[in-house]
Subunit: 139 residues, 6 copies
């Protein structure tokens, strides 16, 4: 079993808040991330797929295919977008890095399987100091 990781990037706006909270409650809970006028990040996404090495190609899966899959399923939806308003798989969820990672996992798990690999980890870095990893429901 070998683990292969592809890095992709997207730049997006978001806001952490609850509609049932007052501005003051949102500020207390989410700090400056609750700014009603939005803020944004250069997100870095690492997608790790595991599998056996195909002796015909030397690949677990073709990274070009994986990159195109992430591009079409994830980056096109997130890049230069407002995560709260415009991303279908984030509707009705708090736009935290945790939920973004879980949302990306749910989008990628099945199509990665169709490529012949098994999704192992989705890592999302919001800043150079903050990141999240999700390994599915196994752990």
């Amino acid at each position: 079993m070998v683990f292969i990781t592809r890095r992709e990037r997207f730049n997006a706006a978001h806001r952490l808040f609850r509609a049932d909270f007052s501005d003051e409650e949102n500020l207390n809970t989410f700090g400056k991330c609750s700014n009603p006028n939005w803020h944004g990040h250069n997100y870095t996404l690492y997608v790790t797929v595991k599998g056996l090495v195909n002796p015909e190609t030397g690949f677990v899966i073709n990274l070009k295919d994986l990159s195109q899959l992430i591009e079409s399923q994830i980056i096109e939806k997130l890049d230069h977008r407002n995560i709260n308003l415009e991303v279908d798989f984030m509707q009705g969820k708090l736009a935290s890095t945790e939920n973004i990672a879980i949302g990306i996992w749910d989008e990628l798990e099945a199509p990665v399987g169709l490529l012949g690999g098994k999704l192992h980890c989705v890592r999302v870095c919001e800043t150079e100091n903050n990141s999240v990893e999700y390994f599915g429901k196994i752990f």
Copy 2:
């Protein structure tokens, strides 16, 4: 003469657009950066100050003072903010990296002088691939 550089960071939302353009014209000119729902970046800011080394301290200027100045004059205004809507020194300007760098220069030039240094360069990195440097009106 020695040149000393302090790095600071801010995360902000912005949009590139002209109010006198249609959405289609904005898209043609500014691409996906014109998204009306905003997007955002982790901006990295490098401020370079030049001066003689003070023999009493070994410093051009005290980097702690420079850091606090950048924090109070720039970062507090930009971090977790919407550059188009909320930043006083960007009002009425296109929120391009070029204009952000020039705006930061104009905010910092005088107070850096009060610290005893001379502002030499403001560098703003919007992504790992895109950055801008401004050296004032000298060049």
Copy 3:
């Protein structure tokens, strides 16, 4: 279960040596790291906490709380300090990266639990080439 990581940094002096060794023995065992006049590093610390996502906040734990905890319990004790002479939780221990990571784990395990998460990993990078991970006594 989601894993969330916060990066913090500290700059410290240390020395690898045993008091029961001669200078020559220390040099043989620890190389130039045994220099009696100390040397130092920019250490990078990654603290990973695991837990379920709180549906009220979208957070495993609030990274602001985690950052403040690491700051008060770890960074204030280590930053701009001499690890051998001044850090309470390193007294009587060899100041290796391994022991620093274990020491940080022991300081953080209980208070991270009080924040509602479970400490998963402490990673300490001494240089861009050398790093250590500790996952507690589980492994």
Copy 4:
């Protein structure tokens, strides 16, 4: 149990292709990586070793010994070399990052044991976007 990681680097040429494929088939399968005139990378190698901390030294293993081992067993064979033509442990294999990682594991597993540690992971980064991890046949 503590995990310690050493980073090393090598610059090498390679080509992804099968001798039983036509140029066109190789292009279809391996893309521009199949260029018959070779291309190359700055590979980054991370070797992780696990073990108990030796109370006499504070080390899992001495990183200087690990670095010298990686240098003599791996870097000298790969650095400024053609992976397809010149690296003994890659003969008869497709020069994919997956196979390079497995090949390095097989070269290092026994001698790392002689140093008193247990090889845990070999990570090979081909570019800033593409990397592979191998943990041996355990998984």
Copy 5:
């Protein structure tokens, strides 16, 4: 005047050698870079353009145009190529980082002018330790 920089990357094989030298002379002059079987690098290219900010757009030049220009004029010729054998503007030249930077400058100077900017600097990083800057014949 504002300076704007775009980063692009290419992975290529090369060899430092002179056809009029014996293998031994090449080894003495160019070290392991003279390996007749080639080696390679992940090159990083920074292209800096200077100009006035266009008040209609906030741009010195549109970075999308600059990126496409670098892609079509430089990256397509260099990426996954053998610099000695396959790159038209490097024919008859030693494939040193210095000559690569000068060659890229000569390719880009005129078309950057057509975009409305003035080429200021071409920086080529061969490894994280080695890089070259060329500012044209002005200096």
Copy 6:
């Protein structure tokens, strides 16, 4: 004229203080950098040399020679050392990044000339946030 840069690194202890100051005065002026028990950094050093490209080699100067020069003249004196106590060219000076950069320049200027280049810039990075550049007495 082409500019070529070599990166090297050293890990050292230092302290910012004046012997004619009380501990309190040192703390007021130099902050936690005045800790009498020392602290330390992973310093990164960038040495830039300018010159014409030698048509015989394609080099401004051979980077291997430059690297060996920096190693023997600078790194051996600074790496794993106490800058205040053990570095000959820093005796009698405040161990600020500014003075370190000037000191390195003075050590390198003549021998770089003997290699056939002209020293252009010494850049010293103390942390990822703080750095200094020195270009000699020209500016």
